[in-house]
């Protein structure tokens, strides 16, 4: 039996299967929030720290989301440490979670924060439509790949569990 089959069979129950995914999702959200701040705010100066025209609800939602994603990054890495110490870390499942986290965050940022709450725009002083399209379509593609990998790892896991159960 290969290592991976053993992993499916013995240690990796459904609880840890989901924890692998959630650790990835939280890490993806934290990662992309950090990337957004570093690249668009600080390097390119496309976004503003705060553009003064944001409605109150946007400011509150932004603050909550920032606080949560900051918290989630650390959280996800401690879950990862726990998974590794129990030898139930499955990197493919974890990366599926990262892509779901990144895609979902970008889509939320692009649709709800930029367009509905109007917290800020991607860039100022240019025709915004191509930027919005590029942003949201790329977010959708990342999310779709993440969801596909999530489904595939789940299926692979179920098959392996089935084989293991029959053998047992």
């Amino acid at each position: 039996m290969t290592n991976r089959e053993q992993l499916y069979k013995e240690e990796l129950n459904s609880y840890y299967l989901n924890r692998n995914l959630w650790s990835g999702v939280l890490f993806g959200m934290g990662l992309i929030a950090f990337f957004d701040e570093a690249v668009f705010h600080q390097l390119l100066h496309w976004h503003h720290f705060y553009d003064r025209s944001t409605p109150g609800i946007g400011l509150v939602a932004d603050g909550l989301f920032h606080a949560f994603s900051w918290f989630a990054t650390v959280w996800s890495l401690f879950i990862l440490a726990e998974l590794r110490s129990k030898k139930v870390f499955w990197s493919k499942r974890w990366w599926a979670g990262v892509l779901v986290g990144v895609g979902a965050f970008q889509l939320y940022d692009g649709v709800i924060q930029h367009k509905i709450m109007r917290i800020h725009q991607i860039r100022y002083g240019v025709d915004i439509l191509p930027y919005d399209l590029a942003w949201n379509i790329s977010a959708g593609i990342i999310l779709a790949i993440g969801l596909y990998l999530t489904a595939r790892t789940k299926k692979g896991w179920e098959e392996m569990r089935g084989i293991a159960a029959n053998e047992g």
């Binding site: 720290f49 606080a67 900051w70 918290f71 440490a81 726990e82």
Partner: protein, 270 residues
């Protein structure tokens, strides 16, 4: 007396007193740690705790006297840097240095019992609840920067001292309500603490953007922008340290839980 009269030329009498108090604080801590370490009953006091205490005292001192403190009276950016040191970094360092643990193991047993009875009082349960501590800490900051309190503080010495003492104490109680280094009789669950923590952090971030756009009375807008950004990013930096410690403690408690479960199983199976 106007507060801005402080700190012109050499050391004033006030500055000298503050330096002596800080040195006394460091001396008392180091003395207590060295003496209690000589007792056979206790393990030697860890070296990192000495360092944390000394750095914490230095952080407090440089927000009261010296160049940062001096410029803080006229420049909001420096005021904010001072507040990051006094209300966030110094409390974190001092919580790490476990002063209550040191106190309890240095004094006589009867006195230690009396102190721990005191700490078990319902007042401390109330004040070290994460919600109350967050309201005192971040709520106090909202009050300071969105009302005239900030401007008034610079004209009344008593108010100035009161605000700074509050900022420090509230920061300490807030940090101690989230991470448990010293003996904490009234503990709350990890989920409760982390939920309150995220909300408090969000309130802090919202306030810093609010300050960026709406300068407190008497603050030029450029200084408010710089101060707001210091508060946002500087706050993030110190907050992430608290988050790491919170999760480290969570991780350790889970590991020991699993270990004790595994042991229980062995006993049963054996």
């Amino acid at each position: 007396m106007k507060v801005s009269h402080w700190g012109h030329g050499g050391f004033t009498f006030t500055e000298l007193i503050i330096q002596l108090v800080a040195l006394l604080g460091i001396g008392l801590y180091v003395g207590a740690a060295v003496i209690s370490s000589r007792h056979g009953r206790f393990r030697p006091w860890p070296r990192h705790r000495y360092i944390c205490w000394i750095l914490g005292m230095v952080c407090v001192t440089i927000t009261i006297i010296g160049p940062i403190a001096h410029r803080a009276h006229s420049d909001f950016t420096f005021h904010m840097i001072g507040h990051l040191l006094l209300g966030m970094l110094a409390p974190l360092l001092l919580v790490f240095s476990a002063p209550i643990t040191l106190l309890l193991r240095t004094v006589r047993v009867n006195t230690a019992r009396r102190i721990s009875r005191l700490l078990k009082m319902s007042y401390f349960r109330w004040i070290t609840d994460p919600v109350a501590a967050s309201l005192l800490n971040v709520g106090g900051l909202w009050l300071l920067y969105t009302t005239d309190l900030y401007q008034m503080m610079h004209h009344h010495l008593f108010l100035h001292i009161l605000v700074h003492v509050h900022v420090f104490l509230a920061g300490y109680v807030f940090t101690a309500s989230m991470i448990y280094i010293d003996p904490t009789p009234h503990r709350t669950s990890f989920v409760y603490r982390s939920t309150v923590y995220v909300l408090a952090l969000a309130a802090h971030e919202i306030l810093s953007k609010y300050i960026y756009a709406h300068p407190p009375n008497g603050v030029p807008s450029l200084q408010a922008e710089m101060g707001g950004m210091w508060m946002y990013y500087g706050g993030d930096l110190i907050d992430v340290m608290i988050i790491v410690v919170m999760f480290y403690q969570w991780y350790q408690s889970r590991r020991s839980l699993i270990r004790s479960r595994a042991k229980g199983q062995l006993v049963r199976e054996g």
